[in-house]
Symmetry: C2
Amino acid sequence: MVPTSGTEPRKITINDVARSAGVSRQTVSRALNDKGEIDSDTKQRVLDAARALGYRPSRFARGLVRQDTMTIGLVIPDLLNPFFTEVAAAALEAARTRGWHVVVYDTADRAEEERGTLQVISSQVDAVIGYFSCSESELEASTRGMPVVLIGREGGSTRFSSIRIDGEEGVHAAVAHLVAQGHTRIGMLDHHTRAEPSIRYEWFTAAAVAHGIDAGLVVGADQTADGGGTALRTLLAAHPEVTAVFTFNDIIAIGVLREARRLGRSVPRDLAVIGFDGLQLGALVEPPLSSVALDTRQLGALAVEQVARLLSGLETLGAEDLVVRAELRLSGSA
Amino acid sequence: MVPTSGTEPRKITINDVARSAGVSRQTVSRALNDKGEIDSDTKQRVLDAARALGYRPSRFARGLVRQDTMTIGLVIPDLLNPFFTEVAAAALEAARTRGWHVVVYDTADRAEEERGTLQVISSQVDAVIGYFSCSESELEASTRGMPVVLIGREGGSTRFSSIRIDGEEGVHAAVAHLVAQGHTRIGMLDHHTRAEPSIRYEWFTAAAVAHGIDAGLVVGADQTADGGGTALRTLLAAHPEVTAVFTFNDIIAIGVLREARRLGRSVPRDLAVIGFDGLQLGALVEPPLSSVALDTRQLGALAVEQVARLLSGLETLGAEDLVVRAELRLSGSA
DNA sequence: AGCGCTCCCGTGAACGTTCACGGGAGCGCT
DNA sequence: AGCGCTCCCGTGAACGTTCACGGGAGCGCT
């Protein structure tokens, strides 16, 4: 019979090691876990046997009997997007202080990968924190009974907790600042992954209207630096009179800074720029980026905190507590 | 008796749901896993009971019986360091194509956290990819029998596989380029987390000697942009004649670019700068960063590939295949 | 009436580990 | 001699799920 490539050799168990070393499985367990109550010679013999056989303990069997580990899943669309890098780092930090493990899933911004992740995640983790683009019913179907905390998404149902990002005042302050600097033609580079405009655009519109300026100078942009550059060209081609730009996020704004330089426009003199997110990255570019900044560490900490409450059955945080405020932070670019 | 905060309510099991719904545990399993062979009314009753009780299946029990999931641990010192962000993203991507799960541990660059991670990781994952600063014997003690692939570290023993970063030629090319541009006083900003100089410094020294220039203009720098700025000031204070700088990595180089601007030095005219790593970030700063660039995606893919071979018992890759070459990539800064 | 088939459900066993407990051997002390 | 203690080791049970298998009820067909 030809052995197929799929025929795994039967898994080595603790009993195989025990037999090989001439001891009981309990003694093997003692040797491997550095417990006492074992002779040092015996211990060495067991360790040698385990190594010779290539034994690896089953984490499932171990986890089943001593139920002391907690693992959460973190689902993000793109780890290389600095915003999600910061969120992930914050979540990892908050999880670490609780001794939790974090399985990270990067869905590459594709619905297909997100669906695939949702299908497998429930058997891997005890709770989920994430940024999802699928419908709530899809989410519900694959996370039955599991705590789920959404980030940056207005939760329609009460099934899921969600951390809300409130930038209304911050965006208002940003527009007010630009107007105070004398700008009257302020463009916005929104994201364009969705058909409908973003809530950040709505905040911008409201602020513009409140200051009596045109809120219609809007162009969709890819959520990358290149996308920001391209969108800036489009915006300036359509509206050359624009002297200030507010962007959906910092990555787009950084692309704007770069493109402005290529176009020979000095920032902030010829073009004022304000982003959104307040990434650490904004301090590295020239000029340093002004931004409606939010505290990503607080965001991660809040998400983990809520998961902890959901898991323990404690009183959960209400929607009014699950908010991260974004505030205007002025730097060189505006 | 006062209930202590530690008294968890006994975990709800499949049997509790079965009893509540008046069926057997197998029927509960069928309902929850969308298997057939179940009446739709029964299924709904089970689902309701499960929800009412707050039942969450044990992933350990499930994993124990159907052994089909593979999980690897990824240990990095700082996810916010863009180099490790890229490595992590690459590893996640490579793992995803294999259907593997990845638990990420950020050790915050602290030996204590690294030790803590090592202690718990063995019961959580099937293999480890990581960047460790501890000794090999410590590593060995806590990863007994588990495949381990180290990145960017010369493996002394044969116990561990390691992905080597070979920048010798790339650094030589960088120095050659600077010399060709007329630079004779080239400084280096090494990292200073360790007592001994880095291997990148050794490459730099060898290249400098080969070109007959002084290799002694070296200053240690923190692995941050601020660290790079501070180190540049120190370097220029001691050696005002320096006209070019090679840095341990891109983050330090970006700090150098920023500091040069503050000092009124134009890059590359007054100061040429070449980094190491080739981060995507380098394209966002002004001027775009020249760097001895390595392919982080290849690095991640290679690490995951080796883990797969170690786990399956296939022939493993030898040291000569576990190499990522870093090559000079010129951009605006030099 | 008897047979086979489909639909639906339940019971014993197994996955691989740790926990709880029991107990033998050897030694020192009274 | 008897007792207690330490050191070392082994056996049954349990963790909570899925798999394999058996089987009853109901229906249609010959």
